[in-house]
Symmetry: C2
Subunit: 327 residues, 2 copies
């Protein structure tokens, strides 16, 4: 099978590709060819070099989608996007990359299929940003999408396109609404959601971290390992069980910041917790107050998607996957 | 105020413009200039000729949106679309007219506003086709949009764009999800929903009509007069009461085909009812079985939108507005 990952240099994209390298048959079939795409040339993990090819290509530029689809991959993971803050700051770029880029990919598949029968599996990275407050206490699978950012709007539109193209048999699509990924590896970044990871990752590495909100802030989480497993499961699953509602809110863990800190104390002790410095930031507090806090992701659970059920597990996964088991 | 109606040659568009002609101040202000647009030159009602200009222009063609917006109308009614059946049969045309045409209009407004401050009111004709079965018994205001046609997908996408452009202050948008309009004036057409009107309109005119489904089929209706009033109200209302959820399911009447027939009997007698010929059509029955049957349109009602509450009223409106009170 020919597998393509668009957005293969991003955090989840890289981890997905690393999984292909570390676990033969992760997708349930052999990968005879692997095409890795991103705006910068994505890394090729050791062991995959015989089958993998890395391409630096911007999906939103003329003909890029056509070039990729001409390779006729059997499975396409589409994770390429600019992030929420950038899409809000740059209206044109957000719509060009997140909407037009995705639509160009879908259209390229349609035209390839008109030329010669072709119905790939397409797994699309969506986001809980498709929802906008006010919310019920738990957001169910039939709650409407009223995004309050251009990023969320672009994701919600792509979800609609994915469902329509799948309904018409142009491709076999699954939309994956990711929770906030925690613990994000790497350095602290300036994303408003960064602190959810920072306050665990930095103390685990003996570094100070800033907490800009109260401990009673609730949010919706899954580990990077779960995120990778969502994509793998979406590629392997029998899509006939999904029906026409192709976009699925992934399972996750609804937890308070205070519960994150308690889990850190249990796993790494008081010394780690003391590295969290409280520095209330009204701007971040206000942004975060608009985010969803809890979901009833029943459909995805019934379809076999799984996530963590407590923060101790999320921390242990980080220690295993990022710190070689060592703190 | 400069008012523009795009799709002014369609059934609702014509009736909206006729209302401007027949009722001075219908919009709550003087219309100093009226621009009527459609792919064919729309008619200008008597009395409006001093202020009205009719243009034959296809919104989905290059520069068309820019030309219209350069006129800087204060209020834009956007009703132009190709219908459901055509959008399903012609994928390219459906997306080009219903999605790209609307987006071009929204983008033209954004660019005009970047050139010189400009925030028009935009009223967009959406449809209950944004919903797809299975449904709850009554579809509430927070039910999600999972269209099962490309037409419904295009409308749902334009709703998302309208909300995002409004949130950003690019224009002041209201999306109006119309019920099935009944009694549609004119000749029987081949739309799958045509019979809902045909079985009343034709017998009222002494003509035979075909009923292709059972009497226990339920559907969601409003009169053409209500449809016009929805648009007028959306143009007049204080939009600050709407908040960011800019797309509203309009109120309507949930009724059985059997109730339509009973109302016809009360208003026009047994002789009229006898003109309905039952000719079951499994294709139409199957299409209709996928349609929504009932809504709880609470938000629109609270915001002052109104529709009929029984079929006698719907029939009487047809007799008044189309048959000069005479049957």
């Amino acid at each position: 099978m020919h597998v393509m990952v668009i957005g293969a240099a991003g955090m989840v994209g890289r981890k997905l590709v690393e999984k292909f390298a570390s676990e033969e048959g992760a997708l349930g079939y052999d990968i005879s060819r692997l095409t890795l795409v991103d705006v910068i040339e994505p890394p090729v993990p050791q062991g995959l070099s015989p089958v993998a090819k890395a391409l630096a290509l911007d999906l939103s530029t003329e003909d890029a989608a056509g070039k990729l689809v001409a390779l006729r991959p059997d499975v396409i993971f589409h994770l390429a996007a600019i992030v929420s803050g950038e899409a809000e700051a740059d209206f044109d770029k957000g719509y060009k990359v997140n909407l037009d880029g995705t639509r160009a990919l879908f259209e390229a598949i349609r035209h390839e299929g008109l030329r010669e029968p072709y119905v790939p599996r397409v797994i699309f990275a969506s986001s809980i940003a498709v929802f906008g407050k006010p919310f019920p206490e738990k957001i169910g699978d039939e709650f409407f999408t009223t995004p309050l950012t251009s990023y969320g709007t672009q994701k919600a539109i792509c979800e609609l396109l994915l469902a329509d193209y799948s309904r018409r048999g142009i491709f076999d699509g699954v939309g994956i609404r990711l929770p906030t990924i925690c613990i994000r590896p790497g350095k602290p970044n300036k994303a408003a959601s960064g602190f959810f990871s920072n306050i665990l990752r930095e103390p685990l590495a003996g570094q100070e971290a800033v907490l800009p909100v109260d401990e009673n802030v609730r949010h919706w989480f899954a580990s990077p390992r779960s995120a990778v497993d969502f994509f793998i499961h979406a590629a392997r699953m029998d899509t006939s069980a999904i029906g026409p509602r192709r976009n699925l809110t992934m399972p996750g863990l609804s937890a308070l910041v205070g519960e994150e800190i308690e889990a850190l104390r249990r796993v790494a002790g008081e010394k780690a917790v003391k590295l969290i410095r409280r520095e209330p930031d009204p701007v971040i507090r206000s942004i975060v107050s608009g985010w969803a806090t809890d979901f009833d992701a029943r459909r995805a659970c019934e379809l076999g998607f799984k996530a963590e059920t407590n923060f101790d597990e999320i921390i242990r996964i980080h220690i295993e996957d990022e710190l070689a088991g060592d703190i």
